[in-house]
Symmetry: C2
Subunit: 639 residues, 2 copies
Amino acid sequence: MVKITFLPDNAVISVEPGTELLDAAREAGVSIQAPCGGKGSCGKCIVKIVDGHIESDSQGILSSELEADGFVLACKSKVINSDLVIEVPRQEGREGGKFTDADEDVSLVRHELLPNKWNYDPLAVKWNIVVPEPELEDGLSDLDRLTRRLQLEWGKKKFIYPLEVIRNLPEVIRKEQGNITVTLIREPEQYHVIHIEPGNTAVHHYGIAVDIGTTTIAVRLVYLPLAECVATENDYNDQITCGLDVISRINYARKPERLEELRQRVLNSVNKLIERVCKVKEIKPSDICNAVVSGNTTMIHLLLGINPEYIRLEPYTPAVLETPFLEAGELGININSNAWIYFSPNVGSYVGGDITAGILCTSLATDSEAINLFIDIGTNGELVVGNNDFMMTCACSAGPAFEGGGIEFGMRAALGAIEKVYIEPETGKCSSLTVGNVKPVGICGSGMISLIADLFLTGWLNSAGKLNRDRKSDSIRTDGRIASYVIAHGADTEHGKDIVISETDIDNIIRAKAAIYSACSMMLEQIGITFDDLENIYIAGGFGRYLDLDKAVVLGLVPDLPKEKFNYIGNSSLTGSYMVLVSQEFREKQIELAKKMTYLELSTEPSYMDQYTGALFIPHTDMGRFPGVSRKLMSSGDK
Amino acid sequence: MVKITFLPDNAVISVEPGTELLDAAREAGVSIQAPCGGKGSCGKCIVKIVDGHIESDSQGILSSELEADGFVLACKSKVINSDLVIEVPRQEGREGGKFTDADEDVSLVRHELLPNKWNYDPLAVKWNIVVPEPELEDGLSDLDRLTRRLQLEWGKKKFIYPLEVIRNLPEVIRKEQGNITVTLIREPEQYHVIHIEPGNTAVHHYGIAVDIGTTTIAVRLVYLPLAECVATENDYNDQITCGLDVISRINYARKPERLEELRQRVLNSVNKLIERVCKVKEIKPSDICNAVVSGNTTMIHLLLGINPEYIRLEPYTPAVLETPFLEAGELGININSNAWIYFSPNVGSYVGGDITAGILCTSLATDSEAINLFIDIGTNGELVVGNNDFMMTCACSAGPAFEGGGIEFGMRAALGAIEKVYIEPETGKCSSLTVGNVKPVGICGSGMISLIADLFLTGWLNSAGKLNRDRKSDSIRTDGRIASYVIAHGADTEHGKDIVISETDIDNIIRAKAAIYSACSMMLEQIGITFDDLENIYIAGGFGRYLDLDKAVVLGLVPDLPKEKFNYIGNSSLTGSYMVLVSQEFREKQIELAKKMTYLELSTEPSYMDQYTGALFIPHTDMGRFPGVSRKLMSSGDK
């Protein structure tokens, strides 16, 4: 028997030699798409052999570069006499060219941390009932008969109805002789009937999870009866033309008409994505009756149209941390206008609901013994350290570099984004892998991390972020005082232009990683522990599945610790929002966790600047902090 | 000492002869206006000497007709050696020419039935607090600090905030260093903060009581800190151009765009009256934070934009009886957009919140022994019989005649409406008293009752409603088959036209009174009692203060019972709404009473038509039912 380990799920199975890899994966419960039915014609079942040998024929579907990198077609590969470690790449969306599967991020989260799908309990439920017909002198209105019928089902709760439901009731209740479907929002004391439809429409029941980042916004459509993620779309936040980071947005919002402009821009972004997910599944927006929105505190203020100015001014006071439920209609979100919008609770001025959603995806939410670190890398970097008993949190300004902002060819992890590179040590030549395996368009965060770490390890970049002008390479160009590195030549790119990264771009990334690393280090110092005391480090952010944590260590973005301590959990804000959407237990847990978090204001810590300056090198001025990287450098120097 | 009794308050005082009547009234606590300061120049302090003699000089201010009727100026009258009974007429509005005092109807209700003003408890309260300033690292948002401060005051309640309040919070809370005023709606489980303002604005706190009738709408502005009625305005319901009664409105509303038209029309009517009461007191509509709306079931459906069609069709099922709280903004009522609108509960398809509000003004709400009858005379007549333990209710269609609708010179009890007449028995000549003591414009309900009863008693009208063509009078004209009676000649009227009432008009009124009387009689029959078993009869309706119940008996509108059993309580729907507005206890009582009421559908009672036909005479075909009227006829015949 041969043992096969499938990454990133860590699913392990033993099979007979000769078994087809696609069958082995299915047996292990690992989903690999093969729309062509295993004929080797669609190329969708591409996997990477990380360790071991296999008998394979890629039938000319894969480029020689991909083959060289160890990629094979699972349907055309047979297990031979060698244990295997197989990496299953992020699957392309089923709807042609989408860069991410609907539940990709969810699949990154450890199974035991997720809500139990068979016992899920969403805030919004859809229920089919038959209301008895009216009788002469029964003294009951249509609403009375509906309430009595609902109380039979759900007990003597108080039922609350918005005006629209009462308006529609006489027609809806008579259309199919009292057979109607109600959408309920269940609060402990009272149930809200937010929507009614004639007939049995209980299967048309959706919710959305929304992550609002400073740079990127993501919307995930969830089929609530099965707690299933059915479509995910993301795009830039339309607000970015009004400032790249939170502080510039707050400054922009100082005039009321500009605050309103920002509100409209973020609403437009969210509504466009909702339109897209609805189109993908061909559903009506009115079938979406619940939304969970997570974002940083400033983004939520702007979405609500609240002046965020006092977040920026000492003592940094937000107007609201725990946003009450709001209705989609009053907020301007284009789903069912009576849908309830739940906002993940914010913790402080710069630690928002994206973080309280994010930690739901980690053992910080469940573990009360070991100390864990959670790092969410976005335009702001947010950190949480602690366990289920005590948590400290802080934020730092990383800037939009990791999401492609402020980098000439930077982009988010969308179709055509370079997300992994390989540098030939001798020539400095770069080969790359893009999202969707198409011609490259630009480079995303994981690509930049991979690129800079590799350039540094191969000696083409020094620890101060300067390219090596002394070694001869076609890939390095000098334009005045600034040198650039060519990642892909125009002949090979989508737009025909060279894709390059300049020393200025590299400097932006170093500043971003320095902000995050020094904030981690600062916070641990505050609570009196070291990196070695950490049991798990969770890295969140919209990097795509190829984030190479080894390379993130080399860059000095994250501490130099054993690889098994790291978990990359993708867009945990979106995943956490999904968890809250399908489970009231997780919603309660989130509120409880938010209350436990102590917020540390870094800007008032005098030594933070020193820590930051020390981190403005690759990996750090103090190489003693990165012994693993030192060893790697030595061994690459040896070669 | 001389004893003076002031009507209708029944205030009694003993004074020395020589005392000025105005002073005596003040001492007795009876409010008589004298804007000219007692110079005898404004004529506002007019009162009527019902019994006794007084020394008076009306200084040419009063017409000789008024003087002949016993009217004097209180400021120019001195008590002599004779006990007095003085009737204080309804006072004109303080703001020039308003036809009704703000709290006229309230004054008609027996004192012990009204809420105790010193212990009142409105749903909406306004509260001034100082919220502590934010501190670095206190981890509290503006909203958190506000909630904590409110919980200090009101206990660990759950506080709920609409989006607008949260939006305004950062600016409002900082404008006067945390000194703010909140407007709260207090539900048992949770408090809703519906409005916030900087500084102490607790004195700017108003509510409105709204009565929506098929023909007439009334709005009363209430100063909530003192539970004081400060302005009342009423006008026709703009919907009357779409049909005079409930059934024609329901028919009109069958197309969605016409339903919307009716909704807009009633909203416009209400909003115009709100504008007027606000103008009178020079207050901002946003200072009105609570409204109680009472109306018949159809009117409420139309205001809410609900198709009322199924009210008209068997089994006569309304969409809603107990309307939930709604916000002014979503309803379209132009007060504070977050103000809560409470609807008096409806009982059945044709017995609405105007009746559950109305019975609060009667001993049916308090008395569990004696059996009482409540009659609300509007376009629909609604009746309630019973006591605090058991109540039966029904409705009949009276038509708009008593409100002036369908009567050539009919009008509501507004400025210039003839509300009381005197017929000279020999000549048939009519002298009249108008609302506001101005030249007559038309005739209102109380005027018509007084007129028809007097014409009948003086033999100018027979019991079938035909004018006496045989006796010679300048006041009777015959135009073909229809005769008319001249109430006022053009020379004496506001518009220069003769004010007349035709036999067709009289027939309309007879039909209206027959509908009401036969419904009363029918309902008593159903529960097996007779009129003699009744302890009190409460008559409600917008007749103005001069409704003469003796004359209503002569007309056959109400049963022939001892005068002391009758109570005219004015617009009890408006008064009951006021009571609910200022007292949560009354709101609870109203809900409890609504539940106790059993609704009788008259249209399905086969014998109702017989009863109705029998009542189409003055006072009735069966004179045995009206022994008092028979005696009166005999005695007037004797004269």
